[in-house]
């Protein structure tokens, strides 16, 4: 079965599912407790999964595999590689925090709310762990149901519009992918994702297949110009809904590119790299500028997500190790940081019930702990060295520089613009005079809120200071991916040549190129 002797991935999906069923039939306070316990159990299982994941040299690419052909045309096939592992870890890490964030702010229909969240957790783990094409699709699409209900029932004033837009937008994006999947399963004669990742589709057909998948992942990601559902959904969703949306659901798009678009259609990916680059460049500059003029905090962070996700896409389509590893790191870092930022918004929203930036001011005087943590996450979002996002952004921009120096140039402005809108936001909320009496009277973080934010803050620093913990499980998989897409790799314009290795250097010449990049990254941090 696997290294642990029990099907841990199915187990991790079953725990929240059982919890969800129990929540439906219990009262408010019991439901909260059940949800917290279920998510904590899953988090513990996630740690166990990470610790028992074999990262040693020559490890199997797919681990913890399960296979049960119980559904006729497709199978219950589970299994993870390092890329999926890190995203599952992100999911199970954020979920207990989401439950805590909803502890007091959700007052009506608590049982159903917790059930929806736990169901969502099951589906998110399923998306990252599925090894069967159609099983993946089912989990990918099924996530619409709980999210639609979460936004529609517990959302803000304009929640119904936002829930429809979220649902129909993402559904329309995804359905064409299903047709492409049906064709691929016919052509390759298998629904097994690892098999399909090694199958060479006809480059002519790849174009169409790639576009069908792109429609789905670009909406999910979201990429400009199909990002417009995101600000609406974020603004209307309850805090925990925004956290999950920004933290994990957007990552499904990036995961899809890594798992499907790149390895299955390398030629088409190379052919359309310009399209991805173009859309991403627009997104970085345009959505950053839009973020700059927002008066609603959640909307501002939502637009900043679009800009950050654009860095992910350019990194992915750089076709090299640094770019893809960087994209993964941005996804993980952004999952933590944007989640934390939405939590920070939620903290003050719970007190004043408004998201208007102008209604706050001078919070560092009456909420010093809050101001400190908010500062940390603001800096992480800007990409300050020592925080998670720096590693990812640096690596992916370095990777894309190899592919196209112009793209790198334009996308780097995103860092400057990001600093502008985030620092501007921070100044308006935390610094300055306490111009609003009610905002000035707000109490500082409670113990519950500290328990939510401090772990994220520590993880952000950990990722920034010692990214190797997060890069090492996925390194082999990214290498395999880079090798897979290497034949189709478009020629870059930077034409980098390798330097002459110093014989006396601490790291010998036998180490691979990515190790060199690692050193660059660490060197960058030191400056």
């Amino acid at each position: 079965m696997n290294e642990l002797g029990f099907p841990i991935l199915s187990f991790m999906m079953a725990v929240p599912m059982v919890g969800a069923a129990a929540c439906l039939f219990s009262g408010a306070s019991t439901a909260r407790t059940i949800a917290l316990i279920a998510t904590l159990v899953d988090f513990a299982l996630g740690i166990l999964l990470w610790l028992s994941f074999d990262q040693g040299a020559g490890h199997a690419q797919w681990q913890f595999q399960e296979y049960a052909p119980i559904f006729g045309r497709f199978a219950w096939a589970m299994g993870i590689d390092g890329i999926a592992l890190t995203l599952i870890a992100l999911t199970v890490f954020l979920m207990p925090i989401c439950i805590l964030a909803s502890w007091d702010s959700i007052e009506k229909r608590v049982g159903e709310y917790m059930a929806a969240f736990l169901f969502m957790e099951t589906l998110m783990i399923g998306v990252f762990a599925a090894q069967d094409l159609f099983l993946f699709y089912i989990f990918f699409e099924a996530g619409l149901i709980p999210m639609y209900l979460i936004i529609g029932i517990w959302g803000g004033v304009n929640r119904i519009y936002a829930s429809y837009k979220f649902f129909l937008y993402t559904l329309l994006g995804s359905v064409l992918m299903l047709i492409a999947m049906l064709w691929m399963a016919r052509e390759a004669g298998s629904t097994d994702i690892p098999t399909l990742m090694a199958y060479n589709f006809d480059p002519q057909v790849q174009t169409w297949l790639w576009l069908a998948f792109f429609a789905s992942f670009a909406v999910k990601m979201p990429m400009w110009p199909v990002h417009t559902w995101l600000p609406d959904a974020h603004v209307q969703a309850p805090t925990a809904g925004s956290v999950i949306l920004a933290g994990v659901l957007l990552k499904m798009g990036g995961y899809g590119f890594i798992r499907f678009s790149l390895p299955m259609f390398p030629e088409a990916s190379a052919q359309f790299a310009w399209l991805v680059f173009a859309l991403s460049m627009v997104a970085v500059v345009y959505t950053s500028l839009v973020a700059l003029v927002q008066s609603d905090m959640k909307k501002l962070i939502a637009y900043s997500s679009v800009a950050h996700m654009a860095i992910v896409t350019v990194g992915l389509f750089a076709f090299n190790q640094a770019g893809i590893e960087g994209a993964m790191m941005v996804m993980l870092g952004h999952g933590l940081v944007s989640g934390a930022l939405f939590l920070c918004v939620g903290v003050i929203y719970d007190r004043l019930h408004t998201r208007e930036i102008d209604r706050y001011g001078g919070l560092s005087i009456n909420m010093p702990k809050y101001a400190l943590l908010f500062m940390l996450f603001t800096m992480a979002s800007v990409g300050l060295p020592g925080t998670s996002n720096f590693v990812g952004e640096f690596l992916s921009l370095m990777g894309v520089y190899e592919a196209s120096s112009w793209v790198a140039l334009v996308c780097t402005t995103g860092i400057i613009l990001g600093a502008a809108y985030m620092l501007y936001l921070y100044r308006r909320i935390c610094f300055g005079d306490q111009k609003n009496a009610d905002a000035a009277a707000m109490p500082d973080l409670t113990a519950r809120e500290l328990v939510m934010l401090v772990p994220i803050g520590l993880s952000v620093l950990w990722m920034g200071v010692y990214p190797e913990s997060f890069l090492s499980p996925m390194r082999g998989d990214v290498q395999a991916l880079v090798a897979r897409i290497a034949p189709a790799k478009p020629e870059g314009d930077a034409k980098l040549t390798a330097g002459k290795p110093q014989p006396a250097a601490a790291h010998g010449a036998h180490e691979g190129g990515h190790e060199g990049e690692e050193k660059h990254a660490t060197a960058g941090e030191a400056h």
Partner: protein, 483 residues
Amino acid sequence: MLDTASLILAMPELVLTAAGLVLLMIAAYAGDKSAQLVGWLAVASLGLAALTLGSAWTAGGDAFGGLYSGDAFSTFAKGLIYAAAAVSILVAPRFFATGVSGGVLAIRAEYPILILFSCVGMGMMVSAGDMLTLYVGLEMQSLSAYILASFMRQDGRSAEAGLKYFVLGALASGILLYGISLLYGFTGSTSYDGISAAMADGLSSGETFGLVFVLAGLAFKISAVPFHMWTPDVYEGAPTPVTAFFASAPKVAALGLTVRVAMEAMGSAVSSWQQIVVFVALASILFGAIAAIGQTNIKRLLAYSSINNVGFALIGLAAGTAEGVAAVMSYLAIYVVMTLGSFLCVLQMRDASGNPVEDIASLAGLSQSRKGLAAAIAIFMFSLAGIPPLMGFWAKFLVFDAAVAAGMTGLAAFGIAMSVVGAFYYLKIIKTMYFDEPADAYAPAASRLESGLIALCATLIVLGYFFNPLLDALSGAAAAALH
């Protein structure tokens, strides 16, 4: 000379005919007091008929010199038809006992008997191996259906539904009969095999006309666009148990019939009818999705939903392959469960004094007053919209898979994109139940039978994937039986 083998194959129809006649006698002498008893006996005879299906499944073939074929295909369809008919009989007494606004009207004993006779007709339809058997079966089913539609005589809407159904149905029967006569005239045969053999050497213009008229007549029976206009009115006006029946069993029968005619009688001219089926399928999907958006009556909405669903089922037929036929049959099985579940939920929609309501607006806030019912409706609506992990997704998956396998990727892509339009109005119902402020509460659930059936349907829709291998095997065998 009696042909015993043929009689054994036709046993389900014989059982139902005999049961119908006996029950008619009981009803005639015991009066409407016996309605409950007759209902249960009718369900029992449906069960008995289902038991006699076995021989046709295992060793089926043509009977009565090719007029009738009792094979795996007809068995599959009959199983669905009998199940749907039994449900329609079981839920009727409570509806008629409390169901009519402005006066109590107990169920009359003819109701289950009419359904039985309708089942005989539907059995003939799916088993027909000859155009004349087809026509007799179709008329038998239709005549019972006309009466059922106007079963609430005092109710103006019901009478209107019956009359409308009758007039338009008669027109469609005429069109169908005209097509059959053309086919007979130009091919010299009314048997499917004979027609198929005559068409094998290319279509003459007379044969083409015959084919078009036959398909037009059948399109009316399956309520496919552009012959759908009777559906919303009849569904709205007919008593709700009858609507549940119309939306399930006759749909299976008519689609099964269409599939058999297309694959057997016109199997040698696939490319000629394929374009018609493609057009009808796409028009039904598109029209069913768009016209449903503005509806305020739940039964009308479900009528448009059934038009929409027929369009998706026809995509499987448009593929023109055995796999496509299997997909259609699986689609029908899943569709019957979804649609019966939905109508059972509609039966639960009663205001505080027990009168039935059909307004979608009255569902507002249902998730707070009746959680279980709201959850069931939400499951059926998400399923009809084709959202995984519910079974409605699998039904669409199978027909699109068949279309893609047959190289009709464009058709599949257009169909699935249109399903997003359809999703909008299903979402509207969920939004009304879950997001809106509560309206007046419904009466509490009063019937264990209905609640149990709803729970059964909902469970099947949620956990149906575990039955996938079984469904694949059954529908595959059914499709293989067509030649």
